[in-house]
């Protein structure tokens, strides 16, 4: 350590860490694809106070926001194999639980988590669109689906986008916990490379840089998209 950083290792491991980016992005995208529609629908149930679903969404959001993501990962990782195992033995399927790719658990945990975050995001965004918008859309003859697709959702999206951006960045950061599922993503790959020569400082500098670049790019992309969507913003002047 006293001889300073090992620059060759630093550069080599940077590319090792970079090779984990596709997995981190795959988890992020799958989680967002699952969470966006579910989050939107559950947010609507909370706003319209639909009896059972409304309470369910409330408890669900409170649980996810109230417990650390790592504990959620632990719970899923220790409960799903038990469930799967009992299903496999019940239907006499010749499958081993330990052959399931850990990425599936990651998909489940992060979709579960992101949905709850997006419920809150959409709930606050939908409530900023005034009720008159829906009524006006209906009065000019749009169906409910059309009104939502063309009038409500674009306006909601403008308001929700900064928060969705934050949620996405947090999601990318949270994928670093995939090591607990022995998932071959950015953090674990660099860590394994460091195990050989105890070059942990260099490895973590690399991981740090990769996340920094990744998150900055995502933030930049969201900013660009926000500028394009701004035309939907209601002007009250």
């Amino acid at each position: 350590m006293s001889e300073g950083l090992d620059y060759k290792f630093l550069v080599d491991t940077f590319f090792v860490a970079l090779s984990g980016v596709p997995i981190a992005l795959a988890i992020t995208i799958v989680a967002l694809l699952v969470a966006l529609p579910f989050g939107f629908i559950l947010a609507l149930t909370r706003i319209n106070r639909i009896p059972v679903l409304h309470q369910f969404a409330q408890i669900y959001v409170s649980f996810v926001r109230g417990t650390p993501i790592i504990v959620q990962i632990f719970i899923v990782y220790s409960s799903i194999p038990l469930l799967l195992d009992s299903i496999f033995t019940k239907y006499n399927l010749e499958m081993n639980v330990y052959d399931v790719n850990p990425i599936w658990y990651a998909f489940i945990v992060f979709s579960f988590n992101t949905t709850a975050i997006l419920i809150e995001v959409f709930r606050s965004a939908i409530s900023t669109v005034s009720k008159g918008q829906l009524e006006a859309a209906q009065s000019v003859g749009l169906t409910n689906v059309q009104a939502f697709r063309r009038i409500i959702i674009p306006q909601t999206l403008v308001v929700a986008l900064p928060n969705i951006c934050t949620a996405t960045v947090n999601l990318i950061k949270a994928t670093s916990l995939g090591y607990a599922l022995s998932l071959q993503e950015i953090t674990l790959r660099a860590k394994v490379a460091a195990n050989v020569g105890y070059n942990y400082v260099e490895a973590y500098i690399d991981i740090f840089l990769v996340y920094l670049i990744l998150c900055s790019l995502v933030e930049y992309a969201f900013k660009r998209y926000e500028k394009r969507l701004i035309k939907y913003k209601a002007v009250n002047a």
């Binding site: 350590m1 006293s2 300073g4 409170s62 649980f63 926001r65 109230g66 417990t67 650390p68 993501i69 790592i70 504990v71 959620q72 632990f74 719970i75 220790s78 409960s79 038990l82 469930l83 009992s86 960045v169 950061k173 949270a174 670093s176 916990l177 090591y179 953090t187 942990y200 400082v201 973590y204 500098i205 991981i207 740090f208 996340y211 920094l212 990744l214 998150c215 900055s216 933030e219």
Partner: protein, 235 residues
């Protein structure tokens, strides 16, 4: 399922985990203390006139926002002893809690900077001017007029940041700190990995109750402190 899952283990492990909550609290409160100080310095830099200080503060916040806490934790854990080594200090033996506190203070500082800045900016500039015009000194005006009002505005955001800190703090077990998550993992290891699910459920129940309690506490506190605000409205 029946033979794997035993609900009595949940209650049993809650009572085993609760004593370790004080480690979690200790780490969290030190991080809040130092993080708030860092937040004040950063907010002062952001609101000040110096362009260099503002850029440094902005850069710090961007970097910290883009770093997963586990990566920051390990950077601190491996990085600080390595830097200390270069100056001839042996820092390998200090308590792991110190590294955890350093990490989460850094992170909480970035969160708090934004909280403090937005609270400060929400107070009308006329408040300060009128306080000075009735003869208060600058320090008095800040302490008696600006600070109490900014505190009420900052409170909900502070509560949210505190909850976020508490949950990120669960990662401290990764460097070997024995807080409640660390203890849970120890119990599981000593059980030969049996009943892991029940112990993790117990863990999640503790965290859940804790965050609901903190949330409610801040709601109550906000109501108490915003009394002064309402009397302003009637004028």
């Amino acid at each position: 399922m029946e033979k794997y899952f035993d609900a009595t283990y949940i209650m049993q492990s809650i009572s085993m985990l609760l004593p370790f909550l004080k480690v979690t609290f200790m780490v969290a409160s030190f991080s809040v203390l130092f993080g708030t100080i860092i937040g004040f310095i950063l907010a002062a830099a952001k609101l000040g006139k110096s362009k260099i200080a503002r850029n440094i503060a902005n850069g710090y916040i961007t970097i910290l926002r883009c770093t997963p806490s586990i990566v920051l934790l390990f950077l601190v854990y491996y990085g600080i002893p390595a830097i200390g080594n270069n100056f001839g200090m042996d820092l390998n033996d200090i308590d792991k809690a110190v590294f955890v506190i350093v990490t989460f203070s850094l992170q909480f500082g970035a969160l708090m900077c934004e909280v403090i800045r937005s609270a400060y900016e929400s107070i009308d500039k006329g408040q300060f001017e009128s306080a000075v015009s009735v003869g208060l000194s600058n320090a008095q005006a800040y302490r008696r007029i600006i600070f109490p009002q900014a505190l009420v505005v900052a409170l909900p955001n502070f509560g949210n940041s505190l909850l976020a800190l508490l949950q990120e703090g669960a990662l401290a077990y990764t460097i070997g700190l024995i807080d409640i998550v660390g203890k849970a993992n120890l119990i599981i290891a000593s059980n030969y990995n049996a009943h892991a699910l029940e112990i993790f459920l117990a863990l999640s129940i503790i965290y859940w109750i804790l965050s609901i309690a903190i949330e409610q506490f801040f709601l109550k506190l906000e109501r108490v402190l915003s009394k002064g605000k309402q009397s302003l409205k009637t004028m």
